[in-house]
Point group: C2
Chain length 384, copies 2
């Protein structure tokens, strides 16, 4: 039995990971971590009996402790650094990082530092400190296996191929709920509208990022770090039905795609079993049942957040963690109705403009740039 | 420079292969062979200066000889066995077999017997003697690299994967010109109609086979031999626009496809450069320009030739060369307007019914079964 550390176990990715683990039946769960949802965390811990349980929000320590009182050999830790501590100290053979947001960075870092393979769903790890983590993985001879459906698709298409043969990567984007509406039309769109994603069911932050296409912007940055291609070779095409999860075009013209009905359990399982595949009992994805597949170019004026991501990628260094911090804070304020939908991009551009680019030489450099951007956005007063 | 033996150089695959070779600029042409088109063969030989030139139809020996009188160090041979002799005796490092029909079998056989890698477009090699050739390639540690767009697609999707992880192969079929018409409606369809293929421009025999879907049936048999999956795991779906060249579905549910605008030069080049890919100057295939992609199930009653192929595959042994011989003769008679379109399938079924299945232990066994079926069809008198 392989020991899995699952960071962010109560979120969408975390819960689906436990479904997959139950099906695979060849993993022990060594670590479970959550942000605030102590009740689900406790229930998961009762079921999986991990050696470590970590909760970011220390307010619920007592409640969690009580809920787990019958559990033997289980270390319960709380606080902002609890997940990172578990990543650094617990015994495990593979980590899956499904944390949403900047809190995912340190668990990724410690996992790789220890030379342990990392199944990565936390986009922010690479957006904040892609250069450091990729270098670390290389030095430690450790794998980063992407869990995002797009990057898993590309990773699968690249199996047996040489990265030198790749001409371009085409990330597909559903376009989110506002695909057919102009920037002006969606300027005042309420969170309820932005949260109605047409094809994928995900957490709130990532769903808003899908409506602005910032999520795709982060994926462009992730792809840049994971696959080592220049920004202009990481392209995005709209593909509203989300069947083609992404494509790779090789320099001889050949295109390969990984495709199928949207189901995150597939890339999660692939990341857990790689380099093997593990049979699922009933494969019921049938191409004749798919809607017609089509692809469209992205209008960058309609989706300024995607442009901002390319800009941050080209600027390099601290521009990427700045982009991330600005977006996290802007989405938070949007969900609290302190910003309009259209202001998410505006505030991000303002943040990038005000920011002085520095190199990222350490995790602290990345966190510092992210923090600065977050504060900048939280203090951003402009309203129209 | 690698030395390439090109069997069937004046056909559609052969001509495109020479285009690709001209572009790649790292092959010498060692062998050129043709059936009857001595003029093009002579022009190709003048351009490529091969060591061997072979023409099946000995009637044109004098004309060919005269046309090549200035060529030094070029051995000119003619006759039905000329291509096979070149395959057996010429010096070359890689063969591409683009011959159409049963005459392709011996060149494939001698190439593999000598332990030389074979880029295979000649379907009949595997339909007639797949078991023998696959065994031979294995014993000689030699590669068979498929050139058919469908099998190239599958081959590309399987790179870096294990065949044990494959759940099924989905061969795509354009459906040919008669996709939307019932068996009854096309019963009397003239060759001109059947030759109007909607997406691929190919030779006459293979175009008629595309209209009956026998071509897809042969591809099912080829896939069976090339990839070693049971017949029920080699499926066919209609995909009228021919953008998705085929798909592989793995046992974890993941699907991979190789796709793009129909252009045979791509799988030809891939077969020549494998395991590398070689950049082409300008890759202009853009997904947003594709028509919408859709997939449909095949109505086996509408396409009885496809059913016949599955039947022959399940019967095994000499049923497959019998299928091939019957089809070649039936298509020949159809093109000569001696049979109606609807009779192609009928005569093939009659041939399979009358045939006594034997094991295929030698190339001669395969050729004998093919010959028997051919004669059976040529003597088939029934008209309605």
């Amino acid at each position: 039995m392989k020991r899995l550390a699952l960071f962010g176990s109560t979120g969408s990715i975390g819960r689906q990971t436990l479904d997959v683990v139950a099906r695979l039946n060849n993993f022990d769960i060594a670590v479970l971590t959550a942000h605030r949802n102590w009740e689900l965390l406790a229930a998961q811990a009762q079921r999986w009996k991990p050696g470590w349980v970590a909760l970011a929000d220390s307010e619920y320590y007592r409640a969690l402790k009580d809920a787990l009182c019958g559990l033997v050999d289980c270390r319960i830790i709380v606080g902002e650094n609890a997940a990172a501590q578990a990543a650094e100290e617990a015994g495990y053979d593979l980590a899956l990082n499904g944390i949403v947001g900047v809190s995912g960075l340190l668990p990724s870092y410690y996992c790789l530092l220890r030379g342990i393979d990392l199944a990565l769903a936390n986009k922010e790890s690479l957006v904040l400190a892609g250069g450091l983590l990729i270098e670390l993985a290389k030095n430690r001879n450790t794998r980063i296996i992407p869990v995002d459906s797009e990057h898993s698709a590309i990773f699968q298409c690249l199996m047996g191929e040489q990265i030198e043969s790749v001409w371009r990567i085409i990330l597909t984007a559903s376009g989110g709920p506002f695909r057919k509406r102009s920037l002006k039309e969606v300027r005042n769109a309420a969170p309820e509208e932005a949260l109605a994603h047409p094809t994928w069911k995900m957490g709130d932050k990532i769903t808003i990022d899908s409506a602005t296409l910032m999520n795709k912007g982060f994926e462009v940055i992730e792809a840049y770090w994971l696959f080592g291609l220049p920004p202009e070779r990481v392209e995005v095409r709209l593909h509203p039905v989300s069947i083609v999860h992404s494509m790779v075009q090789f320099n001889d013209g050949s295109l390969k795609a990984q495709l199928g009905k949207p189901d995150m359990r597939l890339p999660i399982q692939f990341a857990l079993t790689y380099p093997q595949r593990s049979p699922v009992e009933y494969v019921n994805d049938e191409p004749v049942e798919w809607p017609h597949l089509e692809f469209q170019t992205v209008d960058f004026e309609q989706f300024p957040c995607l442009s901002a991501a390319y800009q941050a990628l080209r600027l390099g260094g601290s521009a990427m963690p700045t982009l991330n911090g600005a977006d996290e804070a802007a989405v938070e304020r949007y969900l609290k109705r302190q910003l309009k939908f259209g202001q998410i991009a505006e505030v991000i551009y303002s943040t990038l403009e005000q920011h002085h680019i520095k190199p990222i030489n350490s995790i602290d450099d990345a966190l510092e740039a992210d923090r600065w951007a977050r504060e900048f956005v939280l203090n951003y007063k402009k309203v129209d």
